[in-house]
């Protein structure tokens, strides 16, 4: 019970003690800001550690860390804090450490920084840095006593080791791939190295960061000094902007084996060298990016370099509904990563799937080389012979400095009927149908029989309706005939004339055998016939009247003579009826009949 209370009391005392320390620190502390560098003489390849130390600051003040055009930040800031209590005086220090590198040579100034903390303004001092082209000499050793031993090793290393970005081109086209190779120059043994991962470079698209495994070591002499060189890694970059672009300096950590200068004979005996990690800077590189000339080709998809085109079908003869692959390959050097293949124009009968793309790209002799293949799976659904339209690919030729179109034509695909499908279909046939299938079609007609117009219609052909016209004509004739007789039979004069012969003939047939009576009858028949024909009154007709009437009708004289003769005979025998005999009667009857 008491133990717990004691613990609580102790905890309170501790908290109060801390407050007693911190409160005066905060309230009465004398705040100051120091800016320091680990070296004042440097070169373009050696990073500088810039430390900003804040004494008695409870927090980091906000400030604009602007180094101007002379330096570039390549690392940091890393933070650290320290708390000390010396002779009853508490001191708190906070540090921000930046790794910077000089962009140019000469006397460069790290500018002062204006800071504001809790209403009070602070200003740091300028620092002058001397940047030379040469590797660092021993001057630097004097500048920093604390890291004396380390500086010694670094300076030895700096003289003997550096990394340079190598690029064959200083001016490229927009979209053209460039390769930056980071080459190590060294005179000392390298144990290991660490390459920073580069994801973004302003104005460029980082296509690939290619770590070179087992780099080939070559001896090279620069300014009379022999170095061993090895390509550590390369970057494949594609500019996305035009103008003067900068590839920033890259910081590399390299573990080296360096000789240790020691007076201890045991050191030299037991440990000839020791390993050290060195930060070295590959300087920045400027690339001028220019615009491509205007392109009027539809088949240009952004390819820049030198390329070849090949296109082939996996099979030139297939069955319908079977797949065939059109393989188009672009090979050569250039920005292989950055373009696609312009879609060929396929016949509408083809079902074409999205192409499958394969690429085999590598960096060789500072160039992006390789090939890219697009495989189009095509399924033609109709038989026939298809000429695939020419396959075209346009790129900007860097050698000729102009656009060039590659064409692959004469691709012919013959598609046959799919016999497999036909066989499947035949399985469902009836026996009769199978029998029918075993027969051949009927042979050709060897001659044309009757030609007809393309828009012939039997309904519109009047010749086909001829029989109907005949039929209607017959009907019309019939009705006309009927009409004629209808009017004829209504006219008594015509009826009398028409019936004259029939009546006379009928009466002649009925004449009795008695010649005398028969004569009188014959005379009456003749008179009535003549009267009927000439529409005269029966009992009162005279020969002259008859002759006149017939003359008006322009009857032949022969007939008139016959009438006269019969008439006279009739008159003669009217008064001498006993002269008449059977023969004479028959003769007169025949004469009358002939006349009628």
């Amino acid at each position: 019970m008491f133990g717990t209370e004691n613990k609580m009391i102790r905890t309170y005392f501790k908290k109060i003690a801390i407050l007693l320390v911190v409160i005066p620190l905060v309230l009465f502390a004398e705040r100051k800001i120091d800016v320091s560098v680990d070296r004042t003489v440097t070169n373009l390849r050696t990073p500088i550690n810039l430390t900003i130390e804040f004494t008695d600051f409870s927090d980091f003040p906000k400030f604009d860390f602007d180094l101007g055009n002379s330096f570039k930040v390549i690392g940091g800031p890393s933070q650290s804090s320290n708390f000390s209590w010396i002779n009853g005086k508490t001191t708190s220090t906070k540090k921000l450490i930046y790794q910077i590198v000089a962009k140019k040579t000469g006397e460069l100034t790290i500018p002062s920084f204006d800071m504001k903390f809790k209403g009070k303004n602070y200003k740091t001092n300028n620092i002058i840095i001397t940047v030379t082209n040469q590797t660092q000499k021993t001057q630097n050793r004097k500048s920093n006593n604390r890291n004396n031993d380390r500086q010694k090793i670094n300076s030895q290393v700096d003289e003997k080791l550096f990394v340079d970005p190598i690029c064959e081109k200083s001016s490229v086209y927009l979209g053209e791939s460039i390769v930056i190779t980071y080459r190590l120059y060294t005179k000392i043994n390298i144990i290991d190295y660490n390459i920073p991962k580069i994801n973004t470079i302003s104005g460029f698209m980082v296509e690939k960061q290619n770590l070179i495994k087992n780099p080939k070591v070559v001896t090279e002499t620069i300014n009379g000094i022999q170095y061993k060189t090895a390509d550590l890694f390369n970057l494949v970059l594609t500019p996305t902007e035009i103008g003067k672009l900068e590839i920033p300096p890259q910081n590399l950590r390299i573990e080296v084996s360096a000789q240790r200068r020691s007076n201890d004979p045991f050191d030299s005996f037991f440990s000839m060298s020791r390993n050290n990690v060195v930060n070295t800077i590959a300087p920045s590189k400027n690339i001028n990016v220019i615009k491509l000339p205007n392109c009027a080709y539809d088949t240009f998809t952004g390819a820049v370099g030198n390329f070849n085109l090949s296109a082939k079908l996996s099979n030139s003869e297939i069955e319908a509904n079977q797949a065939v692959t059109l393989k188009t390959t672009i090979s050569g050097e250039g920005n292989l990563k950055n373009f696609t293949f312009p879609k060929p124009n396929f016949p509408s009968q083809f079902q074409v799937f999205e192409p499958k793309m394969k690429e085999n790209i590598e960096v060789k002799n500072g160039q992006v080389v390789g090939n890219k293949t697009w495989e189009y799976v095509i399924i033609p659904d109709q038989k026939g012979t298809y000429n695939i339209p020419p396959i075209k690919f346009t790129y900007y030729d860097l050698n000729r400095r102009k656009y060039r179109t590659l064409t692959k034509s004469n691709l012919v695909l013959k598609v046959k009927r799919n016999e497999h499908l036909v066989e499947e279909h035949l399985k469902n046939l009836t026996r009769n149908e199978v029998e029918l299938l075993n027969k051949d079609i009927r042979y050709l007609y060897l001659n044309e029989s009757k030609l007809i117009s393309l828009n012939y219609s039997p309904v519109k052909d009047l010749r086909n309706w001829l029989l109907y016209f005949v039929g209607f004509f017959v009907i019309i004739i019939f009705f006309v005939y009927r009409l004629y007789w209808h009017f004829i039979l209504k006219n008594p004069i015509i009826v009398r004339r028409q019936k004259a012969f029939t009546t006379a003939k009928k009466e002649l047939d009925q004449i009795t055998s008695d010649p005398k009576k028969a004569f009188y009858k014959l005379s009456a028949i003749f008179n009535n016939y003549i009267a009927d024909r000439l529409n005269l009154k029966g009992g009162e007709i005279h020969l002259q009247e008859i002759i006149d009437n017939y003359k008006n009708k322009k009857v032949d004289d022969e007939i008139l003579n016959k009438i006269k003769s019969i008439w006279k005979d009739m008159e003669k025998y009217k008064f001498a009826s006993n002269l008449i005999n059977k023969e004479k009667l028959e003769e007169m009857k025949n004469e009358i009949l002939n006349l009628m």
């Binding site: 509904n321 007609y445 029989s449 007809i452 005949v470």
Partner: protein
Amino acid sequence: MNIYAKDNKNNNFEREAIFKEAVSDYSKKNYDEALKTFQQLENTDKVSFELLFDIGNCYYRLDELGEAIQYWEKAKKLNPSNNDVNFNLKLANVKLMDKVILPKPFFLFKFYNSIRDNINIKHWINYLGIIFLIIILIFIAPKLFNNKKRLQRKISKLVFIPKYILILSFIVISLILFDTVNYNNNNKFGVVVVNKIKVKTEPIANGETSFILHEGSKVKILSQFNRIWYKISYFDDKIGWIETSKIGEI
């Protein structure tokens, strides 16, 4: 007139020579050449049953079943009762990939349809004309013998039954003929001339597929849209849209 007749005669000779050349190519199994030569004749303003039949044969030999059926159907329109064309069509129809088994129709409908499909309209118009003429004569003949009542009565008695049979035949044939002409005028047919075709639900290239037809399938053309699309029906059951280039009109 004479010049025209002479030109016409020359043309006929020339046509006959071309036809024989095509037949000769066909018999040498140069079906491509034969087809081209026959098509020269087809491209004139006149055709014949034999020409269309022979073109169908060429296409059949070239393994173009769709076009073969199209031309045989065209030939059948000119001579529906021709045995050769009917046999070839029967044989080609067995080879079709699209086989539709429909329920068997009532025998009278089947009989009627077979009559309608095989009617040669020209011949039937002529037959009907003969019947028409006979009926007229039968009606008129007794009237011509008004004076001879006995003969008139005899003739009337003799033609009494045939007269009504002929009238009935005339009416029935006229109705069938009228229906056939009406059917032919109002219905346009086509044949699928490509191996396989997706019939769309709407006249758009990317439209949804309604059903699939294969080469040689006969479809009824219902309407046309923008000269690119035909609205078709297949066995009066399925309706959809096909590109005009994929259909051969009969």
